[in-house]
């Protein structure tokens, strides 16, 4: 029963082909104190191989919930989503083979060394023997981990931990990377390393979907940007397309115009609560 299911062969990433697809993706959950909470109200997005797609939105907009649905951590309440052509609801294990996921809350085992961590997660993805050793050596080289890869994670600095965590997320060389605010809490050097890493994945023809509320990051990195607010995708496109849509020059102005012009709906279902709240609140499981 516990034998790892045989993996379906992942399609080789072909630049331009759709890697992530979401259609009318929704998430509701019941909160004993707040009633029905509608965290995501219908998000559409498509991200392609060889592309960096940025999900931009204020706190509580639904970014994290959307990424978690795409990463199969939580199940959508409505709509559909596919990763590399595999439905996230029907075949979550297959989706997990195709993604590398990283967020601020994905931790490392403190008593394992970096190398043991890479080996463990590589083996969970079905790698073994020489293949596994080769991949571990590759990521150690790629992220310059050799100086501390045999130290326990509990003894590493924040930046070192983040590099081990990135290596962990890509040790199985996934075609799709989903990163939830990956630079939050990092110092300048670690942030810079992260940005370099994201660019390197695009160069390797992988698809990177990441969320952020740091506009400069999105402006520098993203081929396309989706602006999300109140659980809805307000607009999506390249920076040039968004500028044309809003008539604003800078991304900050684009963002402000889109967000301020959007009808505001409460994330908490007012009817369910019998309340009259009019502002979007932090909704959805983190």
């Amino acid at each position: 029963m516990n034998q790892q299911p045989e993996a379906l062969p992942a399609r080789a990433p072909v630049e331009g082909r759709i890697a992530i697809l979401a259609e009318d993706l929704q998430k509701e959950f019941e909160d004993p104190e707040r009633g029905t909470v509608r965290a995501v109200r219908g998000v559409d997005l498509d991200a392609r191989y060889g592309e960096i797609y940025g999900l931009l939105g204020p706190n509580g907009a639904g970014k994290t919930t959307t990424l978690r649905m795409l990463a199969t951590i939580i199940a959508p309440s409505g709509g559909r989503a596919e990763i590399d052509g595999v439905d996230v609801t029907r075949a979550p294990l297959e989706v997990r083979r195709r993604i590398g996921f990283l967020s601020g809350s994905t931790g490392l085992y403190p008593r394992l060394t970096g190398r043991e961590t890479l080996r463990y997660f590589g083996e969970l993805h079905g790698l073994s023997g020489a293949d596994l050793t080769r991949r571990i050596d590759e990521v150690i080289g790629a992220f310059d981990l050799s100086a501390f890869v045999d130290a326990r994670c509990e003894s590493l600095s924040t930046g070192q931990k983040q590099r081990v965590n990135i290596a962990r997320a890509v040790v199985h060389d996934p075609p799709v990377l989903i990163l939830d605010e990956p630079t939050t809490g990092l110092d300048i050097l670690a942030s810079s390393d992260m940005i370099d890493f994201v660019e390197s994945r695009r160069a390797a023809g992988r698809c990177v979907l990441f969320s952020t509320h740091i506009l400069s990051e999105a402006e520098r990195l993203c081929d396309r940007i989706g602006i999300i607010h109140g659980g809805r995708m307000l607009a999506a496109g390249s920076l040039a397309e968004l500028r044309a849509l809003t008539g604003a020059e800078w991304l900050a102005d684009v963002f402000k115009r889109l967000v301020k012009g959007a009808p505001v709906e409460p994330a908490v279902d007012a009817a369910a609560l019998g309340a009259t709240s009019g502002s979007a609140s932090e909704a959805g499981p983190r």
Binding site: Q4, E33, G107, F121
Partner: protein, 715 residues
């Protein structure tokens, strides 16, 4: 993907074990503590005991003696020999005193109710051997004017003396002497002196009896008539029987002590460190992850049990401890018994490990998991306690019951009575239960649930705070009852009782309810559970009382097997002594109505309401039982008070009101206290005579309690 990949569960298992081995706290809990615990305990207790014995044996006892009332007078043969015997109880200083008044006062009692048994508690005088050695057969009654007798005895003892010794003619046989030893049981030296003198006077009684017999009959006509016991049980049988009584408990308790930390580390610890989310985006099935983690906890638990038992055997073999069943280190047990016991033990450990995993998997934090372990311990130990009842036998009906079957199976395996069929049933059923629980554990390894239960949500934080508030309040109330109320009641009984029940507990309930974290818009006084119940719930709770009394007594019996109560506490005379000539109304008010009302006000009102916000019904009921037992601060009644606290909590939850449990609690206490004090026809007999009627009433009560509550609680 390459071939040869290890199974996911095995991968998780080895990784978790690697982390546990590197965790100093886990190594301490699973290896060092169980290895060093017994040597340290036995060494320390042996040292303390020898120091205590030596110290007491060296203390000089001051005894005031008046043997003038003995037949034959102070110079008679018996009195002279008694004085010699007492003088031999060195180190001792004998002084003379005039015991006439004491003898006169106690003689009045002796005439009134000569059938009462001996008593030696609460500072009451203890009577001793008569000249024929009939030490315990006919003691003076001390019921009437006991306070005056006590006052007089203490006055005669004065500040310096420890013991008074008197003699009087034995009422049963003219011309014979009865000695009486008067002492205060709370005085250590007095107890020591009483022990020495009693031994000396008993020995004198034996000598006098033999001499009288020789004189009358020229020999002992009973010689050779005394039956002789011949134990035909083998060493293995004796060891097995002894081990079977305590090994089931020990193994489970040890497993909890060692496995609990491991379970907390691999579940709650993983959630706290954020690695659970990492794990849940890997292509691994939750059942495989659960099985791997379970295996790691089981391995830690088995290592703990093995180290613990090895340490215990080592203590027994080296003579550091005298353990029943370990004569010769337990090596006298045949291998087949040990193997079958190990198999049953393994099944039991597997089930307990799965339970630990489930509990720790539900915990949002390490600390919360630790709080859940005490109720788990109760939930495991209570069914296992059945092994102490000789009438409980392993059968097709009991083999599959969790921890009951395994406990009885282990006992019978050690005794050599376990059949293959029943052994297999225990094994299969307990592994089946474990698998069922593992399924639940796998269900906890779900991202949605993990995130929903995380501390991040406003509701989650509120729930956790409320549960924590309830637990802390229960602890504070229990400590206040122990320290403040106990002190007040010792200083002045009635005043202390009034203060406890009508000041301390109401104030505590109001404070707990007022300070409890609650959702906005919820009234604090709703937490007191004062809403009116339905008539069905009120009646149902009262109808349960006869069965509750019987159940409480049954569990008390089980507990007494496990932890025998001191003789003084078992004697009904100590209750008589306590209540004395107090009125029935007084007893009913202070020991039935007051605790029934105010203990429920605190525990099933304020504390339960706060805990309810942060925990499910099962956990809540277990915690309520635990705190109720703790608050009664009697280790000898912990099991029955736990059971009652849990049942009252279940009733209050169902009724959403404290009034049904107030009625049941007051009625329960009333029957017990008044019955034990002879104010009822004899409660236990009366309840026993109800027989099947109590079952019928309980069944009706349960049906009534199942009916819906009046309205939804404002929690």
């Amino acid at each position: 993907m390459s071939g040869g990949a290890r199974s996911t569960w095995l991968l998780v298992l080895t990784t978790e074990l690697r982390q546990l081995i590197r965790d100093r706290r886990a190594v301490f809990a699973a290896v060092l503590l169980p290895a060093l615990l017994y040597p340290l305990i036995f060494f320390a207790s042996g040292k303390l005991e020898s120091i205590g014995e030596k110290t007491m044996a060296e203390r000089e006892v001051v005894a005031r003696v008046d043997l003038s009332a003995a037949p034959g007078g102070v110079d008679g043969d018996v009195a002279v020999r008694a004085r010699e015997a007492l003088a031999a109880c060195a180190p001792i200083r004998l002084e003379h005193f005039d015991g006439g008044e004491l003898l006169a006062l106690s003689a009045m009692d002796a005439d009134s109710q000569p059938e009462l048994p001996a008593r030696d508690a609460d500072g009451q005088p203890e009577s001793s051997a008569d000249s024929r050695g009939a030490a315990d057969e006919s003691e003076p009654d001390l019921e009437t004017d006991r306070a005056a007798l006590r006052t007089l005895a203490l006055a005669l003892l004065g500040p310096d003396a420890h013991v008074l010794v008197t003699a009087r003619p034995a009422p049963e046989v003219p011309g014979r002497t009865r000695f009486e030893i008067w002492y205060d049981v709370q005085d250590d030296v007095a107890r020591e002196g009483r022990g020495r003198m009693r031994t000396a006077l008993d020995s004198l009684g034996d000598t006098l009896r033999v001499e009288a017999r020789e004189q009358l009959l020229g020999g002992d006509p009973g010689a050779g008539l005394r039956p002789r016991d011949v134990d035909v049980a083998s060493e293995a049988d004796r060891s097995g029987a002894a081990l079977g009584r305590w090994l089931p408990f020990l193994a489970l308790l040890v497993l909890i002590s060692g496995g609990a930390y491991a379970a907390l580390a691999v579940f709650a610890g993983e959630r706290e460190s954020g690695t659970l989310e990492t794990l849940l985006v890997q292509p691994a099935r939750p059942r495989a992850i659960a099985l791997g983690k379970f295996g790691a906890v089981l391995a830690a638990g088995i290592v703990t049990v093995a180290v613990n038992l090895t340490s215990l055997i080592a203590c027994a073999v080296t003579g550091l401890a005298k353990m029943p069943g370990f004569n010769g280190g337990g090596g006298s047990l045949p291998v087949e018994r040990l193997v079958s016991a190990a198999v049953v033990l393994l099944a039991s450990c597997a089930l307990l490990t799965a339970l630990l995993c489930l509990v720790c998997g539900r915990a949002r934090t390490f600390r919360e998991g630790q709080m859940l372990l005490m109720p788990v311990t109760f939930a495991v130990i209570l069914p296992t306690a059945i092994v102490l009842r000789p009438e409980a036998q392993l059968s097709l009906a009991t083999a599959w019951i969790p921890f009951v079957g395994s406990g009885l199976g282990l006992r019978e395996a050690l005794e050599g009575d376990l059949t293959l069929l029943l052994g297999a049933l225990v094994l299969v059923s307990h592994l089946g239960w474990a698998l069922l629980l593992l399924g639940r554990v796998a269900g906890l390894l779900d991202g949605e649930r993990a995130l929903r239960d995380s501390e991040s949500g406003v509701a989650g934080r509120l729930a956790q705070k409320a549960a924590h508030h309830g637990q802390t309040s229960a602890f504070v109330v229990a400590m206040a009852l122990y320290l403040v109320a106990g002190t007040a009641q010792r200083a002045h009984l009635e005043g202390g009782l009034v203060f406890t029940f009508w000041v301390l507990l109401p104030l505590a309930a109001l404070c707990i309810a007022r300070l409890a974290p609650r959702p906005a818009g919820t009234a604090w006084h709703a937490d007191l559970g004062l809403r009116p119940p339905t008539a069905a719930h009120l009646l149902g709770a009262v109808l349960l009382v006869p069965a509750l009394v019987a159940l409480g007594q049954w569990w008390l019996g089980v507990q007494l097997e496990l932890l025998p109560m001191p003789q003084e506490m078992l004697q009904t005379s100590s209750l008589d002594a306590f209540f004395g000539a107090r009125s029935t109304l007084w007893i009913a008010f202070f020991f039935a109505l007051s605790p029934g009302l105010w203990e429920e006000f605190v525990f099933r009102g304020a504390i339960l309401s706060s805990m309810r916000r942060g925990m499910g019904a099962v956990r809540l009921v277990l915690f309520q039982g635990m705190w109720f037992a703790f608050a009664h601060s009697s280790v000898y009644r912990m099991v029955p008070t736990f059971v009652l606290g849990a049942l009252f909590a279940a009733i209050a939850l169902r009724a959403r009101s404290i009034w049904p449990t107030v009625a049941a609690h007051a009625a329960y206490n009333g029957i017990l206290v008044l019955g034990a004090n002879g104010r009822l026809p004899s409660s236990w007999d009366a309840i026993g005579e109800l027989g099947h009627w109590s079952h019928f009433l309980a069944a009706v009560g349960l049906v009534l309690l199942i009916t819906p509550a009046r309205r939804a609680p404002a929690r």
